[in-house]
Amino acid sequence: MRRRIAIIIAAVLASALAAAGSAAPVSKPASKQANKPAASSEAKSNEFVTHYAYLGKAYREPAPLSLLKPAVIPDEGLAGVRLGTNYNNQAGKFLDLKYVLDETMLPEDGDVVAAAKKLLAAGEHLIIADLKAPDLLAVADLPEAKNAIILNIRARDDVLRQTQCRVDVFHLIPSNAMLTDALAQYLVWKKWTRWFLVRGQHPEDVEYANDITRSAELYGAKIVAERAYELQTGARRVDTGYQEIQTQMPMLTRGVPDYDVAFVADETNSFGLYLQYRTTDPRPVVGTDGLEATAWGAAYESYAAETLHDDFLKLANREITVRDYEGWLAASLLEMAVKQGSARNVDAIRKYISADSLKLAGYKGESMNFRAWDNQLRQPILLMDQLSLVSVSPQPGFLHPVYNTDTLGVDQPQSQCKFAK
């Protein structure tokens, strides 16, 4: 009975909140609690409860070519947010703070807009979005989302930081431009400045290839040749399939002017992995395969990162991925704003996370904050192969007048982002 009253109050509160706009509190007698099993999970009297939502979708994606990688990870991204929430509550129990994660994982054909509307109507203004760019924009552009805070943990598209930037979307995951710049700095430092660009044919591959070209121009590297891989991806398991690949890859890489590295843009796992050791000339592979630029990798262990790996493994029984890391980071960011900030409503949280004084910790050594001109999180970028950390960019000597990490990605003078006021 009491629970039903709470739901009614929540509904009234939600409409009041919609009217009140951005001063909406993040603590509420949540209607979501109604389907939680036990009343014992309800807040203690002096406890401040923060609700945030995970919104994800099971997109159909090509399986990684390596058989060592799972073809599908149903809880990718979400598991990281869950771990972050566990951490948040571990700290929270000493501070009378509680965090409730409301999970929405949509099927492949799920209606993201409807799901987002439902969350917003229920007063969920803090949304961790594990969505691709079109869905992310559809959610961000909802009138109801005007005062929400949307944390992007998945979409690397540059356009989201440029012409399609949104004032309420904060990008935790680095942009593609940041990734190719991170690689470019390392390659220039190595004096490997002649690149052979090999790309797939999907739009994502073309975008990544454009970023490679942009980084080459920026850092004075030369793209000696560009080729597209034209064959369709086949089954990843084929008896004696290696023989076909062994002849295919030399064909793809034959007759290219002399180069230092093969820079591969294969966002859809079609062929990139197969380039290594099979190019006509003996050259290393970098890009989406080989030496990769990434925000996180399972083999990264500096700055106490091992703790995150261990705890994640215990929770999810698998290796942590970039999206899981970003999910953890998103939960950690919200907790920091609630714990360390001056007030605990959506407005105060936005102010806290937008400030230059934000010092977000992400196992990268230095503190991180957001670029004011496009809401992108500044961060060092890891350069890794499958088994080890090779380097961390920005590289020594690549300096910036304000933040060295602003040498990665689109800097303020070049930014095309104009936030609608």
């Binding site: 700290a91 000493f94 501070l95 261990d310 705890d311 010092k359 050594g365 230095e366």
Partner: protein, 330 residues
């Protein structure tokens, strides 16, 4: 050399005599320095007079936190990846016993009589309390995530533990072995230490870039100390170890990738100096008389000796690979 300056009128001869005297007279103290080498899986033992390596002692995997027993007989080393404490017998300069520590010990503290060991289990969100000689577990106290900094109060009543992941400083009652207070500080606190009078706890926030001063009676943060080095990016100023001068008038704070040690006046909380040391100083220790500060530089694989009167770095000596912590045995 500092005494030579005011005596200038006595001329070159007097200065020569003084120099000879200084060479002939041994310092009033000598000590043995134990430096943990995180990558090397060793402890480098240095003589404080010669600053030469006496011995390199092999340990378990990933030696980090290190403390000496008050009687100077034992040196306790956290070997995190071996999930135990290696105990060096000072007389033999060898690991002669081990203690169970719980998972992944990072830093530890000893009670003032040396009978108890307080261990931060980084990977397990708890503090383990052991009997130092028997290894008997007295308590396992749940704290925030990634506990690291551990220190026992001068009166032996309280132990403070930081939890890096939760940005908390926990106060543990050493009688009941229960938490009595938890204080929120800046991001990723690594070390907490008491002022010599036991009244205040200073806690360093590595990513927050600050040091919080907590009143030990009210458990309130009464001061937050900021650092600024000309030409140094704020995000590279990452405070880790805090060492109080013998008389308690100054605090030395190692600033990690900023490659400096800050000197803070403990009355005014103003930073009075920044001392250049090696790369990535994390942990430090004082000589027995307080005249020297030993700063362990992780990236340059050395220890910088700083004179605490002149606040000048005097010399750096090589140790093992990725040195981390240091303990001084008089």
């Amino acid at each position: 050399m500092k005494t030579a300056k005011p005596k200038r009128p006595h001329g070159r001869f007097a200065a020569m005599c003084l120099l000879l005297l200084m060479l002939a007279a041994p310092p009033a103290w000598s000590a043995t320095l134990f430096v943990t080498n995180e990558r090397g899986n060793t402890v480098t033992v240095l003589d404080s007079n010669t600053l030469k390596t006496i011995k390199t002692i092999p340990t378990g995997q990933r030696p980090r936190g290190v403390v000496a027993s008050p009687d100077g007989k034992w040196v306790y080393v956290c070997v995190g990846d071996s999930n135990r404490i290696d105990v060096i017998e000072v007389a033999k300069l060898a690991v002669t016993r081990t203690l169970p520590s719980g998972a992944d010990p990072e830093l530890l503290a000893l009670s003032n009589d040396g009978s108890r060991v307080y261990i931060a289990n980084e990977d397990n969100s708890q503090v383990t309390v052991l009997e130092a000689m028997t290894g008997k577990v007295l308590a396992q106290i749940p704290v925030g995530s990634e506990p690291e900094g551990m220190r026992v109060s001068p009166d032996n009543q309280i132990t403070v533990a930081t939890s890096e992941g939760s940005s908390l400083v926990h106060f543990i009652d050493n009688k009941t072995l229960k938490l009595v207070a938890t204080v929120l500080v800046g991001a990723r606190p690594r070390v907490a230490t008491f002022t010599p009078d036991g009244r205040y706890v200073w806690a360093s926030s590595e990513v927050g870039g600050t040091v919080s001063v907590i009143d030990g009676l009210t458990h309130q943060v009464v001061q937050t100390i900021n650092f600024a080095i000309p030409g140094m990016r704020a995000e590279f100023i990452q405070p880790v170890d805090i060492v109080m001068s013998k008389d308690g008038s100054q605090a030395f704070i190692a600033l990690g990738p900023a490659n400096h040690v800050a000197v803070v006046d403990t009355k005014t909380y103003k930073v009075s100096d920044y001392i250049v040391v090696g790369q990535r100083p994390w942990h430090m220790a004082l000589s027995p008389d307080g005249s020297k500060l030993y700063v362990v530089n992780g990236f340059t694989n050395d220890v910088t000796v700083v004179d605490t009167k002149s606040l000048k770095p005097e010399v750096s000596v090589n140790v093992g690979r990725l040195p981390w912590g240091i303990a001084v045995v008089p």
